[in-house]
Symmetry: C2
Subunit: 459 residues, 2 copies
């Protein structure tokens, strides 16, 4: 087995790899919106076909929600379980896209160009880096690397409701020494990174009903309670003037940064005005007493993600609406208890309701934060591989995002996870014009090839 030969095949056949990714990107597998369920199935079937083609024994596995894709490179118990997700975020506001989100387009940049499409970076482009690495390995050696299993889910963007039951009922099949989760990014868009801590997530929405129908503000204004005013007061009271979240006991289980971690992070010399400058901002807006990296990685947050109520079309309507609603989510850290926080938020909201108002809640999932133990030798292997590929030292970083799967692997399979990935801060994840740099895709495939090579050596 010769690494350089493997890498040069990857280089020369990059265009074919890109074409395969484009095929997958054309499937609008939006998991949060029921009308796209058939497309989620289609994406799963496409992956199974590809995986079988290159020698995996792969199958679509039914769940209560969108199906799972499971694949094994060999019959024995898996050494490594690779995880990714084929579902993508909704695309609205669709008018903000330069190209149709599901007609992947290659646009120029200062390097090899970028692929613009919903899911290009989160997470189809990333999961394909691993599959392509396996493909070229097979091509060169005649067989797949041994002891590799793959799990690709279709509900990551909608809080993975089917994952826990699925893991529970397939423990023996899926439990490996370590999980490789490829759904994160480079540090500051330049330096390869292994993620050592993730924030948890709770997501919910509530709808306030005041009058039993929309009212004419001329006939009722002044006398009838307006649910939009109530909603405003609730939102306004979620944070105090220091950016501290006011939900009772919200910070229970949140611990301060360890001195070691603090030193590590200070050494990263993170520049928040660079980071925020990318999106037209300048000033950190979180807890005034915490550093920007703490606000991003190690502190919990509460954000309103959507509001709705009254007339918001063209022109004007002097209406006092019957209903007003908001979607809110929290990023959790340390030992914050998601269930307890959901309960406290509901009580907090209810405590702000005046007479005559009804309220309805919808839960959209909950996951604890988690911290990765760095004990498994793979951490050294991956660090070495990525440092080589990027010709710069791969760092251990935090991450503000929530990838509940890592916690589920820990809780249900007793399996640790190693998180790494190749996306960049400016990839517009969850936003219009999501893109994945061809350089990220290329280096990603090459990085996994290196990882497979060193694992092969050590076996």
């Amino acid at each position: 087995m010769e690494l350089n030969k493997l890498l040069s095949t990857i280089d020369t056949e990059l265009d074919q790899s890109i074409n395969r990714l484009m095929e997958l990107l054309r499937i609008p597998s939006i998991s949060t919106n029921p009308q796209y369920s058939p497309d989620c199935l289609k994406a799963a079937e496409w992956l199974v076909k590809e995986l079988n083609t290159i020698g995996f024994s792969a199958s679509v596995r039914k769940t209560q929600g969108h199906p799972m894709v499971v694949a094994h490179s060999s019959s024995e118990k898996p050494q490594l379980l690779f995880y990714g997700h084929y579902d993508v975020q909704p695309v609205d506001p669709v008018e903000a896209w330069n190209h149709h989100p599901f007609e992947p387009t290659i646009l120029p940049n200062d390097s090899k160009g970028v692929i613009q499409a919903r899911g290009s970076s989160d997470d189809k482009g990333q999961l394909m880096t691993f599959i392509e690495a396996c493909r070229y390995w097979k091509k060169q050696t005649g067989q797949l690397p041994q002891g590799i299993s793959i799990l690709i889910e279709g509900e990551e963007e909608s809080a993975s409701p089917s994952l826990i039951p699925f893991l529970k009922s397939n423990k023996d099949e899926l439990k490996a020494e370590l999980a490789l989760i490829c759904d994160t990014g480079l540090f500051a868009s330049k330096v390869p990174a292994i993620i050592t801590q993730l924030r948890g997530l709770v997501a919910m929405e509530f709808e306030i009903t005041a009058p039993n129908k929309d009212l004419h503000s001329g006939l009722y204004g002044g006398l009838a309670v307006n649910p939009l005013n109530i909603l405003g007061k609730i939102i306004a009271n979620l944070h105090d003037q220091n950016g501290t979240i006011t939900i009772p006991d919200f910070y229970e289980g949140v611990s301060e940064l360890t001195p070691e971690r603090k030193v590590e992070w200070d050494n990263l010399q993170f520049d928040s005005s660079d980071f925020l400058g990318e999106v037209g901002l300048l000033h950190p807006a979180g807890e005034k007493t915490k550093s920007p990296l703490e606000q991003l990685w190690s502190r919990p947050t509460l954000d309103v993600n959507g509001i709705k109520g009254g007339y918001s079309g063209d022109g004007f309507k002097t209406v006092i609406p019957s209903k007003a609603s908001a979607k809110i989510s929290c990023r959790l850290v340390g030992n914050q208890d998601p269930e307890k926080i959901i309960k406290n938020i509901k009580e907090f909201v209810i405590s702000h309701l005046p007479k005559d108002c009804q309220i309805q809640f919808i839960d959209h999932g909950a996951a604890k934060a988690c911290e990765m133990p760095l004990t498994h030798p793979m951490f050294a292997t991956v660090k070495k591989s990525l440092s080589e590929e990027f010709s710069t030292n791969c760092v251990f970083a935090g991450c503000g995002a929530s990838i509940p799967i890592a916690g589920f692997f820990q809780d249900i399979l007793g399996m640790n996870s190693l998180l790494t990935g190749f996306s960049k801060e400016n990839d517009n994840i969850h936003s219009p014009n999501e893109k994945y740099d061809i350089d990220s895709f290329h280096k990603g495939i090459r990085s996994w090839a290196r990882v497979l090579y060193y694992v092969h050596q050590s076996n």
Copy 2:
């Protein structure tokens, strides 16, 4: 000329009158939404055709916006100018309607039934009461009542932008002794009423932009300013805990109720829990120190009429949106200065913006409040006619709504207005399932017939 004969013709031919109203109701003349402009023109042309058919010299008159309908019963200077509007409110949420809003449907009630359709009560059903009265007058006497002019506009629901220039450039043609405005309702749905004071209106919207694109709350949450949180704080601060509006100088020009007016209103024995009970509420939510009728008729208000921002579709999206917007409007009283209030609201909103936020305002019109002088003899004539028709004493009442036209007639034509109408509190004006009782329509036609009769007598 025999009144009873006229009234009985109205009774026997009521079905034809209803059919003509239904025709007009089938035209979706929504003025606030540009896509319905052709329908607004269509409604104007329909009215001109009808008015010419019964002997008026009527024409469609172009404006910068939707056209006016002007008609004259005779060549001499008009004695009375009748006013109504053919435009209607938007229909959303359309799914809340029992029947298509522009397929008028007759539904049973405890009397002659109701006509359900957008515009049935506001204002197509009402303006047709007058036109139908003229029709039957002509039928019986062979000619139209003399000295009657009609002005029907198509922008009442979008703050009448073209009206002022139109009145200015057609002063001589339109100035009459008195205007008859038929766009108001019965008192407590039972007692005929002449409206002696109207609230003014300012309407505007603003859009806050924070990041220059939608962001992933996992990657930016905690650090990036969220415009939805800012919007919430602005809305929350518009009122204090006593329901008092906090915009600086907002109450400038608001006078307390005169003792006489107070006695009049107390005698009306208004029951706010009945009034609010109709819409599923119980508790007055306005200024704690004011009576319910004051909150409705003589006090200014500020309401949020619509909000928008982030993801509000099915499922969930952990986004920090780039933009958040709100539509707000105020009902004005006394000598409140609309322009000054718009200026103060804008300054108030801007003063609540943190760093990194941009804001954009859109004005949606402004009108002063106005009080009617009761000097013209027509007030006695109309009071007598309506009291006879409803067999109960017609009252002088206030009104929470804003009918800027009365102010424009006063300012531009130096002409006073008499406001009356036959709609009911439960007509769902501006709401889904708007309706007009056939009894309102019938009594309305008969009431105008009586008015025309007594005017004829006195001439």
